[in-house]
């Protein structure tokens, strides 16, 4: 276990510069906007006094490193700036984000659970029945779902279950189970395809390994050979990509929340972009980037816990 602790500490230390890098990139986004940075930060038809005030507040007249310093210190205090669009009252971005964060996390969490609880068993079945009907149909299924962009799958579900069948509500959190089903299924099924394929190829590789034949030669029950030994080995490469999957889910959440009007950070981001509300855009992206990095970190640690060979890395 000691080596695991050492690994965790190493990874934590490595994550810090990455987070800092992310803040730098997000900071620089302001300068990518067309025109004077101040116009991205101010409401349309702002007066000269308002523009000057904003310049002052954001320190746009200061040299870049000072600006960044101010930006960073504001971040550390949890200040993500003020929205220029929502409502008539200036709402701090951070409160907009915190309101919606839990919704997005819920969506992602359940989506991940669905994806893995579908993908792993399907992958195992496909591997154990290689080239038979079960395998081929699972492969076709993954091919088709993998090719569907999330927004299209979402729209399809919307059309099918809301518009034509009227079973499920189309928008928002009108309550409980009904409204969350479609979004999480969209996310879950979209990612399940990749999990299935990885699981299948990993499993196929593992069952050809020497140690599997060895285990059989020791008289182990076939179900122990497959579900205790082969499975644990085969699932490792699949787990390595949990980090990347988390990244995908965050991106996918933006799209799915937009399709289903699910009140999470993704929808906030989309609306902010269309409203040219730059502070909100910046805030959302920063928060998302942060979660991507943390997600990858957690996945790495989890992986090291499961596979002891990695702890040396």
């Amino acid at each position: 276990m000691a080596d695991l602790m050492a690994y965790v500490i190493r990874k934590l230390l490595l994550a810090i510069p990455v987070i800092i890098l992310a803040t730098v990139v997000v900071f620089m986004l302001l300068y990518l906007t067309p025109g004077d940075p101040v116009s991205a930060l101010s409401p349309p038809h702002a007066t000269k006094e308002q523009l000057d005030a904003i310049r002052q507040e954001w320190g746009l007249l200061d040299p870049p490193w000072v600006q960044y310093g101010k930006f960073l210190s504001r971040l550390v205090h949890g200040d993500l700036g003020t929205s220029i669009g929502f409502g008539t009252v200036s709402t701090p971005v951070s409160s907009l984000v915190t309101q919606r964060l839990s919704n997005t996390l819920m969506l992602m969490g359940i989506g991940l659970a669905i994806s893995y609880s579908m993908g792993i068993p399907l992958g195992i079945i496909a591997a154990l029945r290689q080239n038979k009907l079960a395998d081929r149909s699972i492969m076709v299924f993954t091919l088709v779902t993998y090719a569907m962009p999330s927004f299209w799958l979402g729209l399809l579900f919307l059309l099918l279950f809301s518009v034509y069948l009227g079973w499920l509500p189309a928008k928002g959190t009108t309550g409980g189970l009904g409204s969350i089903i479609l979004p999480v299924m969209t996310l879950g099924i979209g990612n399940a395809a990749l999990t299935t394929r990885m699981m299948r190829s990993s499993m196929l590789e593992v069952i050809r390994m020497d140690y599997i034949t060895q285990l059989r030669s020791r008289g182990l029950r076939e179900r122990d050979v497959i579900y205790k030994h082969a499975l644990k080995n085969a699932i490792l490469p699949v787990i390595t990509v949990i980090g990347l999957d988390i990244g995908w889910f965050i991106g996918g959440a933006v799209v799915v929340e937009t399709v289903f009007s699910w009140p999470g950070i993704g929808l906030l981001l989309t609306k902010a972009i269309l409203n040219h509300d730059f502070p909100v855009v910046q805030g959302c992206i920063l928060v998302m980037a942060f979660f991507v990095i943390i997600g990858n970190l957690a996945a790495d640690i989890f992986y090291a816990y499961v596979d002891p060979r990695v702890r040396l890395g």
């Binding site: 034949t213 060895q214 285990l215 059989r216 030669s217 020791r218 008289g219 030994h229 060979r309």
Partner: protein, 333 residues
């Protein structure tokens, strides 16, 4: 020197074939072999001659698309080829065990040594109590001369050296005191310096447990150290069989002779290493007659038409070669 010992393993006419898209490969073409209690027999031959496949056939582990297509394998009187896979499973690991060639790929990398050993002991000896299990695991690790077994049981395969891993393999194989241990090239993947250690260990432990051993190797030196009897295999057939000293002293079959002369002897001055000319025959299209015919300097016309049968040319010494009149029967391959 004939002691009335009971035969543990009797293989008669074993044929194992692989059904590929391109054709049928006959990996084992009519093997006859007998192993007695508490003896060590070496199976020697070059790569691809079928030695490992003999082991896999005994344990019914022949990989797809292969199958045992003919012959009988009797273990203590039980016909193994007639057993269901479930019945076979009860024999594996308990009555017949096998050690594979490469210890680094033969151990499950994500389970600790203690866990893997414990699994087998629980399975075959129905030991569920954790304390008893640990005791037994430590016991067997000491048997294979692993120092500090208490820390080894917590370790994972990748943390051990090649020699240690092979000791663990031996421990796994002998943990349930099998009557027959099959060792497939147990030292090939190890450093030369470790090889001798492991061989000696193998010999000691096997005799301590009272098992018979079938040692498969391509290295005649290994056989000389550890085996009572030797079988020489070529292209899926056994061509010579004798007690070790007898074989080394009076090799009969041209292939055996070739093998022995290929090794330069200590103190001998040689300009060139002698080789056996030619290459191993294609196992897919078998021609009638002796399989060694293309590479044999003493081949006659009869050799390419008629397959020689194993015949006793001296007490306990059998050869399958037309040089030693045996009345070979028409090959029906």
């Amino acid at each position: 020197m004939t002691t009335e010992r009971k035969p543990i393993l009797e293989i008669r006419g074993l044929r194992t074939q692989f059904f590929l898209r391109e054709g049928v490969v006959t990996a084992l073409d009519g093997i006859d072999l007998t192993l007695y209690e508490k003896e060590s027999v070496g199976i020697v031959g070059e790569t691809g001659c079928g030695k490992s496949m003999t082991a896999f056939s005994i344990l019914r582990l022949v990989p797809h698309p292969g199958r045992i297509t003919a012959g009988s394998i009797k273990f203590k009187g039980i016909e193994l080829t007639a057993l269901t896979l479930e019945e076979m499973r009860t024999i594996r690991g308990r009555s017949i065990s096998m050690i594979f060639q490469d210890p680094s790929t033969s151990l499950d990398p994500v389970f600790s040594i203690g866990n893997q050993l414990g699994e087998i002991i629980t399975l075959h000896q129905n030991v569920y109590d954790k304390a008893t299990l640990t005791t037994k695991v430590l016991e067997i690790l000491r048997l294979v001369r692993i120092a500090a077994p208490e820390s080894v049981i917590k370790q994972y395969p990748h943390e051990l050296s090649g020699g240690m891993k092979q000791r663990v393999m031996i421990a796994l194989a002998l943990s349930c005191s099998p009557s027959l241990l099959i060792a497939d090239e147990p030292t090939t993947a190890l450093d030369v310096t470790i090889q001798a250690q492991i061989l000696r260990l193998l010999k000691d432990v096997v005799s301590k447990v009272g098992s018979s051993m079938m040692l498969i190797t391509h290295n005649l030196g290994v056989v000389a150290e550890t085996c009572d009897r030797v079988c020489i295999m070529y292209a899926g057939r056994i061509v010579e069989e004798a007690e070790t000293f007898e074989l080394f002293g009076k090799p009969m079959h041209p292939y055996t002779r070739g093998l022995l002369t290929a090794f330069p002897k200590l103190g001998e001055q040689k300009e060139e290493l002698s080789v056996i000319r030619g290459t191993v025959p294609n196992l897919m299209n078998r021609f009638p007659g002796c399989s060694f015919v293309d590479r044999c300097d003493s081949a006659t016309d009869q050799c390419s038409r008629v397959r020689p049968k194993m015949a006793e040319v001296a007490p306990g010494h059998l050869v399958a070669c037309h040089l030693y009149p045996s009345g070979g029967e028409k090959d029906n391959a």
